[in-house]
């Protein structure tokens, strides 16, 4: 008899899935969302250990290799296949007429790629000094997987370091928007009345101002002497100023809907405090919506940072973000002569896409009625 009892519970577990399990099942169905999640996981992982994954110091200038194109990794040479991949040396030629620097592979020089190689020093998370890199070549070889910029700096490493800033600015910005949005949207939706009126007008007002002038004006107010870390937070705050509005609206709408529902009424009758009702009863019931909205708000922040940098109002070098890197790339010369400077743009697009896919998957999953 006992045996049977166990079996039932096991089966019950299978049938009676919780809401989260249902969501997970739905989510797994969304191939693009899974793809997005994997991409983001990889990006964030690499960004966290960007020092290790990059091949060299991001400020090191190779003035002999200005605007060098990405070097290809080879497995084959005239002798055939090698298990250890290698790169050829770069040969520079300056066209005497157009003054254009062109580079070609110097087949006589071959630099094998070593893994877990000791290279330029860096500090992991600004704490642990080390010089271990995932891959690299030995002096005097060079390895520029994404080419170099106008000062001959390695773009592969710069892109990885930029990822750290760009990916985190979205998270920090969204965290700020989240706090603001939930607080103000919560007040607006739960209490209604005058508070709602005022907050709604503020949102309406903020949303009716075209963002660019607002950003410009605000960033003009950022003192130019500020250290990068302050500028970083300043920019995030500027981005969140508009960012919270959308979230607040979602929260408010959801709250208005839920306020009518019985369990809130019940809680009120029991005499629960407003704060308790909001946090214990209301928030959990649309947490999934919030998660979805947050996921979808992050890419906006990333794009915002890029745009601000484009206007020269965002982060400033030596801080590297994708936006800062793209500022070098925003001209015709680049599109024509040095297209690899656009790689950060590709990262931005892929990241934003991944977030959108993930958010979309979460949205579908969060809605149990579909």
């Amino acid at each position: 008899m006992k045996n049977r009892q166990d079996k039932i519970t096991a089966e019950e577990k299978f049938y009676i899935a919780t809401q989260w399990q249902l969501m997970w099942r739905k989510f797994k169905k969304h191939k693009l969302a899974i793809f997005g999640a994997i991409v983001l996981f990889i990006f964030y992982f690499v960004a966290i250990f960007c020092g290790f994954f990059s091949t060299q110091d991001i400020y090191k200038r190779h003035t002999k290799y200005i605007h060098a194109p990405p070097q290809r990794i080879h497995f084959f040479d005239e002798e055939g296949f090698h298990l250890r991949p290698f790169v050829y040396g770069l040969k520079r030629k300056i066209n005497p007429v157009t003054l254009r620097r062109t580079y070609s592979e110097d087949r006589t020089k071959k630099y094998p790629i070593y893994f877990f190689i000791r290279g330029d020093k860096y500090k992991l998370w600004n704490l642990f000094p080390t010089d271990l890199h995932l891959l690299g070549v030995k002096e005097p070889g060079t390895i520029f997987l994404f080419g170099t910029d106008k000062l001959g700096r390695d773009l592969f490493s710069r892109n990885l370091h930029a990822a750290r800033i760009s990916l985190s600015i979205g998270l920090v910005g969204v965290a700020l928007s989240f706090i603001l949005g939930c607080a103000l949207g919560g007040i607006s939706g739960y209490f209604g009345g005058t508070a709602d009126m005022v907050i709604q007008r503020v949102i309406e007002f903020l949303m009716s101002i075209p963002t660019i002038p607002l950003w410009m004006a605000l960033s003009a107010a950022l003192p130019p002497h500020w250290p990068p870390i302050k500028v970083y937070f300043g920019i995030t705050i500027i981005l969140s100023i508009v960012g919270w509005c959308g979230l607040a609206r979602v929260v408010r709408g959801k709250l208005l809907e839920l306020r009518q529902e019985d369990f809130v009424m019940a809680a009120k009758i029991i005499g629960a405090t407003d704060g308790r009702i909001i946090t214990r009863h209301l928030l959990p019931s649309f947490l999934s919506y919030l998660i979805v909205n947050i996921t979808l708000a992050i890419p906006g922040m990333i794009l915002g940072e890029t745009s601000l940098s484009f206007l020269g109002l965002g982060l400033q070098p030596p801080v590297v973000s994708w936006g800062v890197l793209l500022r070098d790339a925003q001209n015709v010369r680049t599109v024509v002569l040095h297209p690899w400077l656009l790689i950060p743009g590709l990262f931005v697009i892929v990241t934003v896409l991944a977030f959108n896919f993930l958010g979309d998957g979460l949205r579908d999953a969060a809605d149990p009625y579909k």
Binding site: R4, E12, Y15
Partner: protein, 336 residues
Amino acid sequence: MRSKLKSEDDPLLEIKDLRTYFYLDEGILKAVDGVSFKIDRGKTLGIVGESGCGKSVTAQSILRIVPSPGKTEGEILFHQENEKNVDLAELDPFGKEIRNIRGNQITMIFQEPMTSLSPLHTIGNQIMETILLHRKLNKTEARGLAKEMLDKVGIPDPSHRIDDYPHQLSGGLRQRAMIAMALSCNPSLLIADEPTTALDVTVQAQILELMKDLQKEFGMSIIYITHNLGVIAEISDEVAVMYLGKVVEYGSVEDIFHNPKHPYTSRLLKSIPRVGRKVRARLDSIKGTVPLPLGLPRGCTFYPRCPQAKEGICNIDAPPLIELENGHKVECVLYR
């Protein structure tokens, strides 16, 4: 009217082995799995069961409005008056033929009267749409008829109310409007899918009264779907008890209520709150909830919850359909 001319055993709709499966990525969801029953003209069939047992899908299957990715198979024989019988299951669900039957000969009303009417159109507009679709009337005539119908369902001041939007009406009035719409083309079958569940009790009783009165007047058959056994007892001639996509017991209202055979039916009946029972005794005499009809185990679907289950039998083979006296049928090994 027409029902009175008909004999007792005059089936309007015969359903044989109706199966409506949803083909999902997780597997096949068998919402309706081999259901058979029939409805006689002028009679009322009650379908009862817990939510998720397939009652509503059965109704939708009849009208072929099962949402995708659902597929309906089996036989739904509709005996049209003065015309040849048609198997609704074979019709193209988007075709003209079935559309001519929907809203005309077979109509349906729904649980939530607020959402089942379009919020952006006046009720007059929505009633007239049905009329204009199925009857050869011009707009003025259709409007006249709509008003007449509103009057019949007891909506006061119909010539003004006809231009109201749903949100201007109370729940009861909205459901009346729905009924007016459903009856405007004089159907032979009205499917009522939990029409009173969302209304408060007094309104519920009024609507039930109204339906009974209108049935007398129009003579249509009714399929009445509900989880409320009290309502079933009041309105039905015959009752089908459904559990997980199957009709587990079928019989006249007296048989079902006084002589329930299936353990599920008995449990269901016990779960009706009665005066005198302790409040704290929850309506949980059936333990657990209805599982999703997805990837079900072999054997009786009620097995995991059944107090009389026999291991080695119930969980091995599907229970047989056993016919008792007076067309009373039950699907359970206990009566083999």
